[in-house]
Symmetry: C2
Subunit: 315 residues, 2 copies
C-alpha cells in the first residue's frame, strides 16, 4: 500500500443563522474550543497512521459529547419531548455504509452506525429495532438526564407554543434558523476516504421525520475515487438533491474539481431550490472544501501541510 504524503480532516457542527451580533465572546470561545478538540482528536489518529474511519468516528464522538452541538448530548427535543438521533458512516474503499434513524438513548450514534456497517448485513436500521441491535452489540446508552439541556427544553416549549417545527432554534431571534448536525470527513495516509454525520434532528419534529444525515448519498458519502462529504442543512432539500452523490458524480463523470462540484451544489442547485445549509468535503488528494449558503457554519479543518483553522462566520 503506497502512502500518501497528505492527510486531511474537516469537521462541522452545523450551519444556519449564526451572527456575530448575537454571539458573546465567551460562547464563541466555547464553540471554538469544542471544534478544536474534536478536530485534534481525529487528526492525531491520522497523524499516527490511523484510518480515516477511526478519525471521523472519533471526531464525531467528540462533537456528540459536546453539549452545544445538536447531536448526542445536547440533541434537541422532538414533539413528544424525546431525543431521536440519526447518524451515518461511510467507507470510501468499498462504499460500505452504516446508518440509523429515530434512535433514542444512544450515547454515540456514530459508533452505532459503524457497528451496523461492520457487524450487520444491513445499511440502515431504524427506531426500537436499531436500539435492540445496539444493545446486542454493547453500545453505550444513557438515560434522559444525560441528554437534557435546559436551553433545548426551552426551545421545545417555545416551538410548541408557536406551533412551529424548527431546525435548531436560537432563542434570541425567532427568525433565526440553525441546522444542528455534526460531521467529519477525512483522508488518511493510506489514501482512504471516510465520512460520518450525526444529528438530533429538528426541535418539535413530529411524525418520525428523517432528514438527510443518515442517508448514504444524501447527507453522507465517501468514495476513494472522488471525495468524502458530510452535509448540514435543511434536510428535505439535501435528500432531493442527493447532495453527496451528486458531488461524486460531478467529479467522476464531468471531471470537476472538489471545489467546483461543491460550489455547484451549495450555491447553485441547493440555493435555487431554497435549500439552506452547507457541507464539508475532502477529495482523494486531500483538498478540502467547506461551502455554505447560510449565514454561518461551525467548521474546522487541519492537514499535514500546516493548515489548522476553526471558523464560524463567512470568511
Amino acid at each position: 500500500m503506497s502512502l500518501h504524503s497528505k492527510i486531511s480532516l474537516a469537521i462541522h457542527g452545523g450551519a444556519g443563522t449564526i451572527l456575530r451580533s448575537t454571539m458573546t465572546p465567551e460562547l464563541q470561545a466555547q464553540y471554538e474550543n469544542g471544534l478544536q478538540d474534536a478536530l485534534d482528536i481525529g487528526y492525531h489518529i491520522l497523524e499516527k497512521g490511523g484510518s480515516s474511519l477511526d478519525a471521523v468516528e472519533a471526531s464525531v464522538r467528540s462533537l456528540e459529547d459536546f453539549p452545544l452541538f445538536n447531536a448526542g448530548r445536547g440533541s434537541v427535543f422532538n414533539h413528544e419531548g424525546k431525543h431521536e438521533m440519526d447518524a451515518a458512516i461511510m467507507d470510501g474503499r468499498t462504499n460500505a455504509a452504516g446508518a440509523l434513524c429515530s434512535v433514542s438513548g444512544i450515547r454515540n450514534a456514530v459508533s452505532l452506525a459503524r457497528a451496523i456497517m461492520e457487524r450487520s448485513e444491513h445499511v440502515l436500521l431504524s427506531g426500537r429495532g436499531a436500539e435492540v441491535f445496539a444493545k446486542e452489540q454493547g453500545l453505550q446508552f444513557e438515560d434522559d438526564a444525560y441528554f437534557f439541556t435546559p436551553s433545548r427544553y426551552q426551545q421545545l416549549q417555545e416551538a410548541i407554543a408557536e406551533g412551529r417545527v424548527q431546525l435548531d432554534h436560537t432563542p434570541d431571534d425567532k427568525s433565526e434558523k440553525k441546522f444542528g448536525t455534526v460531521g467529519a470527513v477525512a483522508l488518511d495516509a493510506a489514501g482512504n476516504l471516510a465520512a460520518a454525520t450525526s444529528t438530533g434532528g429538528m426541535t418539535n419534529k413530529r411524525w418520525g421525520r428523517i432528514g438527510d444525515s443518515p442517508i448514504p448519498g444524501a447527507g453522507t458519502w465517501a468514495d476513494n475515487n472522488t471525495c468524502a462529504v458530510s452535509c448540514t442543512g435543511h434536510g428535505e432539500y439535501f435528500i432531493r438533491a442527493v447532495v453527496g452523490h451528486d458531488i461524486h458524480c460531478l467529479m467522476a463523470y464531468k471531471g470537476l474539481s472538489l471545489q467546483e462540484a461543491c460550489d455547484i451544489l451549495v450555491f447553485d442547485k441547493l440555493q435555487k431550490a431554497g435549500g439552506e445549509g452547507g457541507l464539508i468535503a475532502v477529495d482523494k488528494d486531500g483538498n478540502i472544501a467547506m461551502p455554505f449558503n447560510s449565514e454561518g457554519m461551525y467548521r474546522a479543518c487541519r492537514n499535514s501541510e500546516g493548515l489548522n483553522e476553526v471558523l464560524i462566520y463567512k470568511a
Copy 2:
C-alpha cells in the same frame, strides 16, 4: 404546455429466482393477470391525458392490492410477525418526493407517500409517527387479517426455524431468493416523468431494517431532464450504489442513453458488488429499460406506439 406524442408506462412486481421449473401454468397466469391489470389501470390514466404521478400511484396501488406481490396485501412478515411497509413517490418536474418507512397497517403505502410529498413539509417519515400523519390525512388502514396470507406466514415460520433473514422466500427451494417490491415509472403526454415504489420488506427482518425502496435517489428517482427509475433487489447494495440517481447522472453528465446507463448499473456496478436485482426505467423521450441480473423479474410495459408486454423470465 407542448404535448409529447408518446406516453409510456412500465411496472414491476419484484425480481429474483423465478424459474419456469417451479411455476405452474395457473400461478403464472395469476401473476400475468395481476401485472396486466396494474399496467392497464395506470395506462388508461395516461391515455386520457392524466399525469404520470396519478398513473404510477394507480398502478402501484393495484400491485399493492394484489396478494401475490410483496407490498400492501401480501406483504411478508417481519421477525415480530408484523407487516412493515416502505414506499416512495417522486415527481420529475421538481424532484419533489414523499416516502415512508416501517409503517404498519396502511392499505396503500404509495398513497401515503404521495400525501407526505404534497401535504407535509417533509420527504421521509417513519414508524408510528408516519402512522399518526396518515390517520390525520385520512389514509385507509386495514387490520392484520387483511394483510395475512398463509404462504407468507409459513415463510416466516420457516425463516425463524432456520435463523434466516430472507428477502422474499419461495418455499419450494431454500436457495431461491426473491426481492419482493413493486413499482411503476411513467412519462405522460405533458412530458412529465414520475416514479413510485412500494414494498413489505424482508421476511423475518429485524432491527427496523430499511431498504432502498423509500430512499429518493436509491430505489426511487424521477427527473424530467433524464429519467424515472424504480428498483427491486437486494436493497443494501442498491442504497450504496445510489442506483436511481447514478442512472440520472450517467445520462445528465456523461450523455449516456437510458439503456446504456441502466445496463452499467445492473450488469456492471451492482453485479460486481454482488447486488442482485433489477429495475424499470423510462426516459424523457418515452424509451423503456427493464434490466435485471437475477433469474427473473415480474415486469410489464406499454406505450402509445403499440408496445404492450407482460414478462417474467429472461427474454
